[in-house]
Amino acid sequence: MNNILFFAHLRDAVGRDSVQLDASGKTVAELKQLISDKYEAVNLEHVMTAINEEFASNEEVIHDGDAVAFIPPVSGG
């Protein structure tokens, strides 16, 4: 299983800060598609992804137990 984390406007759109689902074997792009299909209000087009707290490309493959976070463009500072 994988813990999928949402922040900022994505959390508002999904309605919760995380969901559990099995994404092992999927690429980041495939997971994005799956999430977009499930939550119509969620647009992941310009959203970065982190796997286990490191930025990951759309081609990267997710493994069982990986924590996947969707990172909207940041606005700290």
């Binding site: 984390l5 922040f7 900022a8 406007h9 508002d12 980041v28 792009a29 310009h46 959203v47 970065m48 992804t49 982190a50 707290e53 490191e54 930025f55 990951a56 490309s57 759309n58 976070a69 990172i71 909207p72 463009p73 940041v74 606005s75 700290g76 500072g77």
Partner: protein, 155 residues
């Protein structure tokens, strides 16, 4: 000592500065980011900052590491606040010490620019007529490949 922190409590500037005091330093620069009332004429009532805390600390550490590679002898400490902040409150404090002053200024500027690129922290602006997460709608920074390019990470 924790040189890189996300804080739910108000930041004590002196504590951040004290972390970079070193005998080799000839300069310490301090950047203090504060909550501005007016942005393009629009009045902010207050802000809420949110962080992906564990990753944010890692990315602050990465920025510190990048600085140490570029400016020899630098020490770096960064604390970023989260939660509700009112106008004039301190959102971030960056302290950099180096042997010579020019490096301390440059490295400190580098740190704040990098924070705005790679550290997972978001602010929600609250106005009289609404609220909005900043960073998503403006799309001033988009990552077409899903993550920062090498140049985004290294410049």
């Amino acid at each position: 000592m924790n040189f890189y922190e996300i804080s739910k409590e108000p930041i004590i500037i002196q504590e951040v500065i004290d972390k970079v005091v070193q005998r080799e330093a000839g300069a310490i620069t301090t950047f203090i980011g504060t909550v501005r009332e007016l942005t393009h004429g629009k009045k902010t009532l207050y802000l809420v900052y949110e962080a992906y805390e564990s990753m944010a600390v890692k990315k602050l550490e990465q920025i510190g590491q990048e600085i140490k590679e570029r400016w020899s002898g630098a020490d770096v400490a960064i604390t970023h606040r989260v939660g509700r902040l009112d106008i004039t409150d301190i959102a971030v404090v960056i302290a950099v010490s180096t042997p010579h002053r020019a490096d301390a200024y440059e490295a400190n500027r580098y740190a704040i620019e990098r924070i705005k690129e790679i550290v997972p922290i978001w602010k929600k602006e609250h106005w009289e007529d609404g609220e909005e997460w900043i960073g998503n709608q403006l799309e001033t920074v988009a990552y077409p490949k899903g993550k920062p390019e090498e140049k985004d990470l290294n410049e």
